[in-house]
Subunit: 335 residues, 2 copies
Amino acid sequence: MYLASLGELALGSRLKALSDHFYAAADEVYRSCGAPIESRWFPVLRYLWEHDATTVSEVATAIGQTHSAVSQLADKLVRAGLVKRRKDARDGRRSLLVLTDKGRGALTSLGPVWVAIRRGAMASLGQDGLTLLAALDACEKALQERPLVASILAEHAALGAAELEIISYEPALKEHFYRLNAAWLERYFRLEDIDRVVLGDPGRYVLKPGGAIFFARLGGEIIGTCALLHESPGVYELSKMGVDEAFRGLGAGRRLLDAAIAEFQRRQGRELFLESNSRLKTALRMYEQAGFVMQPSVRPGSHYERADVYMVYEENSRRPHPLGQGAAKRTRRTG
Amino acid sequence: MYLASLGELALGSRLKALSDHFYAAADEVYRSCGAPIESRWFPVLRYLWEHDATTVSEVATAIGQTHSAVSQLADKLVRAGLVKRRKDARDGRRSLLVLTDKGRGALTSLGPVWVAIRRGAMASLGQDGLTLLAALDACEKALQERPLVASILAEHAALGAAELEIISYEPALKEHFYRLNAAWLERYFRLEDIDRVVLGDPGRYVLKPGGAIFFARLGGEIIGTCALLHESPGVYELSKMGVDEAFRGLGAGRRLLDAAIAEFQRRQGRELFLESNSRLKTALRMYEQAGFVMQPSVRPGSHYERADVYMVYEENSRRPHPLGQGAAKRTRRTG
DNA sequence: GGCAATTACGTTAGTGCTAACGCAATTGCC
DNA sequence: GGCAATTGCGTTAGCACTAACGTAATTGCC
């Protein structure tokens, strides 16, 4: 499922899809049981069943919809003969909704169906259903206490103020090198033995043979990393590039790449290549923009199982950073 | 929140409400950041961003919508200048969707906003957000493996086949007496000391003083209970009535009530009363239909804190069981 | 009493989506 | 090659809902 890979960003779409699924299922059940109601009517009907003689707005606030929606729904229910409208004697503006005998009878005979729905949902969803319900509760509450928009805008402001820095390796950052790389490796592939070894001791396997490691730091937090491996005299490999999922899109990857390329050039290297996988589309696009050129076949003697892409750096195919000067200005090279 | 009390029955409505909430929040953020896109466009745009030059139906299946929806959305995106349509040279039916430069630029500069949304959602929802995402994943998967409608219809058939029996107390059922009563007490009020004592040893506190206890059994499972307490010579109290949440609406409560009333009459009792709480609307309605009449004030010297309703049984105010003869026929008195 | 603010409700226009249909192109099969 | 089935897409009608507005009645305040 593609949407699942988007995490929080596509929550709305996924929730809606699931919601429609439940509605459709309930409708199908009602139809096959011969019940004369539709799934969308349920909250209103159930509320009237439990409360009888309530106003439109009372129902509306109870079920969390606008009074218009309830009013229109009430029209339908009246047409279906399940509900009747009554004028409130004391307050002429109000119109009271009451179940008709037919309506009450229909709902009463619907009891077994509702029981079946509850139990059927439990049977299909199992423990996950309860977890979902609990999470819904918690999220509804959390959103009331901490409005989403305010939180997002606060984060946005914080991001705008924070500086994106590229820094060199320090032993204190060793764990970050492992964490950031393990994250995408485990997600898309799996940790190969060679990964575990190299990631676990970057000083020995990257720096000592003549390589370099860079980190991206945003507002004090390490959000990405990238390594330049010294493969043989004059030949370097770009590898171990990883940016924290939550911070993708800020240009940290491209910035790390540029830092590694600059280091390659500072050392007057002769060849810079990388190996990757065709599934990592956004990464490949970034490599191309930074100046790497796709090669027709994989590199001979690759030491990664997952490598099916082989790219080589060519100075003149380089394109400018898409986020432009504004982002570049905030970059500072330290360490 | 009323909908939350409906459990699985109102899942669709709650999911939709939450979905709309997220959409609205995202729209507000985009607006206040000056981004020229709408939240509903996101899945399509993001997919095009990662894949470029894809067909309508590929996008549709990826994001789980119909091709019509994607087609109409594509029209909007074309009007907004973010996307262009291209004919596929090899297959004349296809029209390929590609981001325009403007579109790609807009999405690239949207990176920080997406990061802010992710982090803002995390800040607002905290751990609950992750739980919700995980539960969503699990439920989507579960629904594919075990279709909801099939499960519900299976449960419905099982309910129709199962027999609803009312049985008398046996020591082996002691735990059920506690469980069924503790459930609603803890949900609506809290367990008072007197409850714990009586529920823990019904033999001593209900049967020995001259009372009776009934259970409702459906297909071998104990789903409800009800007690008739002997208060003083000729005076009985109806109490400790509880039906498992998942089995409400099957008429078990009314059946239990009738059994208790029948027992009261068999013993030629003089007065039968009950104490309850005005929050338990459906229960009160059931009591009224069974023949209990609301009294103007609470019973003097009540031993429950939660009691604010006092009802007395009157033979002639009794009304027939709403589920009718069909349900009654399946009832059998045993034990 | 008089007048503004509020409350309750209905109506209308518009949005986002689906189902259903139709057309064009491709594929499969004899 | 010829013809049916399938695939890909666009269009239309319709549904559920909201936002925005208008109307009627009530409440609050001087």
